[in-house]
């Protein structure tokens, strides 16, 4: 049986009177790929932020590889070997692609090693032609790809991605699907996503959020055909 790399127990987050995340129990095994879906305001992103340390949960616990990380700062969580990509592109605009990725690599490797790994990732993600360009001058899809590069270069064992496909062209999405599938060889991946097509193409197990709580958790095909899910989410969306 594979090790559990991420677990939450009774995770709850309240903002004033609103419960954005309601008693969520969640488990993820090593090298598993999991998609979190749900309508807007279902609590996916709040859950994501509680796990990554961007928010401190009101109640409940978060464990990573068995270690309690509840209330940790984001940098502490990341230092465990967790790769995180937030919803909006979060990159260093005035620095080049190479410098961006190098900074991520440098966190875990010596400067020389970091350069080697950066070059390697730039090759793998086909960023060679723009390696010396500032992020501020790149198109949205390219920026998303670079940010994925920041995640990949550190060799994480757990990857948390918030809407990686948002605003990307079909070709970009395809390319990214490949990158993510490659990641799952060594890491467990959690993806928060809206884009059903993308989810269909990549996911196996899907967790559905609704009003802050987990509505169901099952194989993507069964989720897609489930009546309740269709009613709260797909029905409205379609």
């Amino acid at each position: 049986m594979a090790e559990t790399v991420l677990e939450t127990a009774g995770l709850t987050m309240r903002f004033g009177g609103v419960t954005a995340s309601d008693n969520v129990d969640f488990k993820l095994k090593a090298r598993e790929l999991r998609c979190l879906i749900g309508p807007n305001g279902a609590g996916k992103s709040t859950f994501f932020k509680c796990v990554t340390g961007l928010l401190t949960p009101s109640e409940g616990h978060v464990f990573m590889r068995g270690q309690e990380v509840t209330g940790w700062m984001p940098h502490q969580v990341a230092s465990l070997g967790v790769g995180i990509k937030t919803q909006t592109p979060n990159v260093m605009d005035a620095l080049s692609v190479h410098e961006n990725i190098w900074l991520a690599a440098r966190r875990f490797f010596t400067p020389v090693e970091a350069v080697a790994r950066t070059d390697d990732v730039i090759d793998r993600l086909a960023l060679g032609s723009i390696a010396r360009t500032d992020l501020g001058q790149l198109a949205h899809g390219e920026r998303q790809r670079v940010e994925l590069g920041l995640v990949v270069v550190t060799d994480p064992w757990l990857v948390l991605l918030d809407e990686p496909a948002a605003g990307m062209s079909a070709a970009d999405v395809d390319r990214m699907t490949g990158i993510i599938l490659e990641m799952t060889r060594s890491a467990a991946v959690v993806i928060v996503e809206h884009d059903m097509q993308f989810i269909r193409s990549i996911a196996e197990t899907v967790t559905v959020f609704h009003q802050g709580a987990v509505l169901m958790e099952d194989h993507v095909d069964r989720v897609m055909t489930d009546e309740t899910v269709r009613r709260v989410y797909l029905g409205k969306k379609a």
Partner: protein
């Protein structure tokens, strides 16, 4: 990269050697000394603001602290070596504590500005109200508004009778500035410096990569304060008196203006801005046609409006454009980001 680093050092050394040799023929060394000291002070803010994104409204606090620490220690010890060291370490330590309080409290942008401003005001008000005979540290009367005059000035280490003053003192200060400049250059080329620039660009991302942003900002802040402290001690030696004005908001304002005018995000800009504007102020004192405050104000407004990146980058891009190389990247404009966490 190694080769360009070496070239950088060589160029810096040659240019500064020429400047140190030529400038005394144009401007008196006494005035030059203070220009060099202000240059170092400008560099201290340029480092933390231009490369770390920390806008400190109270850089004068560390400058004043350095000067006072030196003066108080020099009165008590009577030899200048240890006071010089203390004048670097204590402001650094003070900034480390203050920085930790601010950065771990996730204070950013304007709120950071308020805290640094308030701390400067507190220091100023405190020092300014120490005229009474009860305010004594060892043999040193703090003296309140009148400050502390008559302390031991810089001497050859170990020989308290061998004063370094006049032209010799200018060379000491100039060499100190060159050393600090090279250290800053080295720091910015190191991983620490590059990570600091990353933090300036995007704190949240750097935290999500796994960097302890608060710790790194605290360290950078402390380094900036230590440099300001050194500048303060050198200033104390130059002026032979320290007064609470060193802590004043006006002094802090000037440091910020130097950085803006010289160019933020460059190492040279703040030094050029500081020396240039201080010299301008010196020249203005010899005329009485136009109010000097008015001119300084106009300079600042005009720079913010028309040359927001400052002199050095502007001249740099002109140079590069004419030589045909691409200009080095600078932060396009001064942003203060709201923290995206929390």
């Amino acid at each position: 990269m190694e080769r360009s680093a070496k070239r950088d050092v060589v160029v810096t050394l040659i240019v500064s050697a020429i400047l140190i040799a030529v400038m005394p023929m144009l401007i008196g060394t006494y005035t030059l000394t203070v220009l060099v000291i202000y240059g170092m002070l400008g560099l201290s803010l340029g480092l933390i603001w231009g490369f770390g994104g920390i806008l400190c409204f109270g850089q004068a606090a560390f400058f004043g602290l350095g000067a006072y620490v030196y003066a108080i220690a020099a009165v008590n010890i009577g030899e200048s070596t240890l006071p010089m060291i203390l004048a670097v370490l204590l402001p650094g330590a003070f900034a480390a504590v203050l920085g930790a309080v601010m950065f771990y409290g996730r204070l950013t942008d304007v709120y950071l500005g308020v805290i640094t401003l308030v701390v400067t005001l507190i220091l100023f008000k405190f020092i300014n109200s120490t005229a009474g005979p009860q305010y004594v540290i060892g043999d040193a009367r703090l003296g309140g508004f009148n400050g502390i005059p008559g302390f031991q000035t810089l001497n050859v280490p170990g020989d308290s009778g061998a004063y370094i003053w006049g032209d010799a003192y200018f060379y000491v200060c100039a060499v100190a500035l060159v050393i600090v400049f090279l250290l800053v250059t080295w720091l910015l080329r190191s991983s620490f410096g590059r990570i600091a620039i990353g933090i300036r660009e995007n704190e949240t991302r750097m935290a999500l990569i796994g960097y302890d942003v608060a710790a790194r900002k605290t360290v950078l802040f402390a380094i900036g304060a230590a440099i300001a402290g050194l500048a303060g001690a050198l200033f104390a030696n130059w002026a032979e008196i320290v007064t609470p004005n060193l802590f004043s908001l006006g002094q802090s304002a000037e440091i910020i203006i130097w950085c803006i005018v010289g160019g933020l995000g460059t190492r040279l800009g703040p030094i050029v801005g500081a020396a240039g504007l201080a010299y301008l102020k010196f020249l203005l004192g010899q005329q009485s046609m136009i109010d000097n405050t008015l001119i300084m104000g106009l300079v600042l407004v005009i720079f913010v409006l028309f040359l927001p990146r400052g002199l050095v980058p502007a001249v740099g891009s002109l140079w590069h454009a004419s030589v045909g190389r691409t200009a080095r990247r600078r932060p396009a404009n001064r942003r203060m980001r709201r923290a995206r966490h929390g």
